[in-house]
């Protein structure tokens, strides 16, 4: 069972073992509106925690997606490049962005769990 953690920038990472699936939350996709373009990194690239890992564009604006923790990209979801609207439809399922091999599991401890993230979103109004 994956353990899901969240950033204040509304990325999630679903961790199973040392593999994390990264995407944006339902709140994020709602805020962005219709997503029309996703730019994903190359497999094999490594990111530090907080590095810009992907770009998502809505009709109105471009937004950067940051690596929630450091690690190496082992897979990207090419399906959302062809059909970006999937990120709106199913952000935490079929709309995932990339899989990371987590470099340092301790970094996950800095992220919010489900309950903390819900509380955080509630404060955003």
């Amino acid at each position: 069972m994956a353990d899901t953690r969240y950033t204040k920038d509304h990325e999630y990472i679903q961790v199973t073992g040392d593999i994390g699936v990264v995407g944006i939350t339902d709140y994020a996709q709602q805020q962005l509106g219709d997503i029309v373009f996703v730019e994903l990194p190359e497999v094999g690239r490594s990111f530090g925690k907080g590095d810009e890992a992907a770009v998502v564009e809505s009709v109105k604006a471009a937004s950067e997606i940051y690596a929630p923790v450091g690690g190496e990209v082992i897979e990207v979801n090419a399906a959302i490049e062809g059909e970006p609207a999937v990120v709106n439809e199913d952000p935490t399922g079929r709309g995932w962005f990339l899989k990371l091999r987590v470099a340092d599991a301790a970094e996950l401890g800095d992220l919010m769990d489900e309950g903390a993230y819900r509380q955080y979103v509630a404060t955003l109004g």
């Binding site: 219709d34 373009f37 109105k60 604006a61 471009a62 950067e64």
Partner: protein, 390 residues
């Protein structure tokens, strides 16, 4: 996730950055009840989108009819003793043919500065009603309206006065807009593109023009604030009509190749550079009796140094306002002034200024995007054909 683009119109309006409370249109509560996402624009809280989202709203306007609240725009009368006096007074500020405007007609005009730059773009209408002789109705951009009114009022001769009005403005836009208006105001359907009339919609006094900012057939309806809610509700009862927000308005006007003031045109751009030379009347070019006439007539004769063009970037990544444009040798040749995803085109679309050498259809350029260069083709606008009822 953080927003990295200055493209949001609400984030680029200097008037919205202060601590002053946002103004509300008479339809504010209706937008909230419809679940709109409200955002600041030109000092107003305005609906950016409703729950259907920008793409659905955009496509609905192209397929049926969308209803926009554009009450933030500035409305005023210019009132003088007769048409010639009022028209000549306004012609001192704009290069359009106002004198030759027939009763019941509207015309696009540019307020120019002394250097031939564009202070604002506006619509000027001459009422059909002979009782309104000597009066012209002006609609200007929200972000410019205070400055425009000061500028116009201070330039008028003693017998011409500017009377600003606090009224609502609704835009009903789309191929089925006429079908909807036929039900509520049959005489409005007789109008052709850029005609105006004063009439009633189901008993509500309105001023209607057949015009808009989407490239589609449609109507812009000026109505008293107190009647705006009833008119909005009535038009939304038509099954063809859905509300549409400023987000869709922006993507629609971009596909239609229409300029957004403060982005595609500004105090530095001339009408010739902006590919708006068509709005400068022949008589005015000969008489050279408008602000900046020397620069503008020189540019008409010799060609401008740069020109506004359409751009079709390759691939799916939108290019945004502010992106630099290069030639294939890597020389900087221009800048994107509006860009985004065109829902009807199904691909990214943009407009911007390039040096004249590249201002021809098919010219190849490259647009900077996140550290790389995206190939793009200079292309004629509009991106989607205008469907006005001429």
């Amino acid at each position: 996730m953080t927003s990295a683009s200055p493209e949001n119109p609400e984030s680029t309006q200097p008037l919205s950055t202060g601590a002053a409370p946002l103004r509300r249109t008479p339809l504010h509560l209706r937008h909230q009840a419809l679940g709109a996402r409200m955002a600041p624009f030109a000092g107003y809280a305005l609906p950016i989108q409703y729950p259907d989202g920008i793409i659905a709203e955009h496509l609905h306007v192209r397929a049926a009819a969308g209803l926009f609240d554009v009450s933030h725009m500035g409305q005023a009368w210019l009132a003088g003793p007769d048409h010639e006096t009022t028209a000549r007074a306004l012609e001192a500020l704009v290069p359009a043919d106002i004198l030759g405007l027939a009763p019941g007609q509207q015309r696009y005009a540019l307020l120019l500065n002394a250097q031939g730059g564009i202070r604002d773009d506006l619509m000027v209408a001459r009422p059909a009603d002979p009782m309104a002789a000597g009066r012209l109705f002006l609609v200007v951009n929200a972000a410019c309206k205070e400055q425009d009114w000061l500028h116009i009022a201070s330039a008028m001769p003693g017998d011409v006065t500017l009377e600003t009005e606090e009224r609502a403005l609704l835009a009903l836009q789309g191929p089925l807009a006429a079908e909807v208006m036929a039900r509520f105001a049959p005489d409005a359907v007789e109008l052709r593109f850029m005609d105006v009339t004063a009439t009633q919609v189901a008993g509500i006094d309105v001023r209607v023009s057949r015009s808009g900012y989407t490239g589609e057939d449609g109507f812009e309806i000026s109505v008293a604030n107190d009647d705006a809610g009833a008119l909005w509700d009535l038009l939304l009862t038509a099954p063809q009509v859905k509300p549409a927000g400023l987000g869709a308005r922006d993507s629609l006007r971009l596909e239609a190749g229409l300029c957004l003031y403060g982005h595609d045109i500004n105090q530095e751009t001339s009408p010739v550079e902006a590919a708006l030379t068509w709005s400068i009347a022949k008589r005015r070019r000969i008489d050279m009796d408008f602000p900046g006439a020397i620069r503008i007539t020189e540019e008409i004769a010799g060609g401008p140094l740069r020109r506004r063009v359409g751009l079709l970037p390759e691939g799916r990544a939108p290019v945004r306002e502010g992106a630099q444009i290069f030639d294939e040798a890597g020389e900087l040749v221009g800048e994107v002034t509006s860009g985004g995803f065109g829902p009807s085109v199904g691909a990214p679309v943009a407009m911007g200024y390039v040096v004249s050498e590249f201002a021809k259809p098919g010219a190849r350029v490259q647009v900077a995007l996140r550290g790389r260069r995206v190939p793009a083709a200079v292309t004629p606008m509009p991106f989607t054909p205008h469907r006005y009822r001429r």
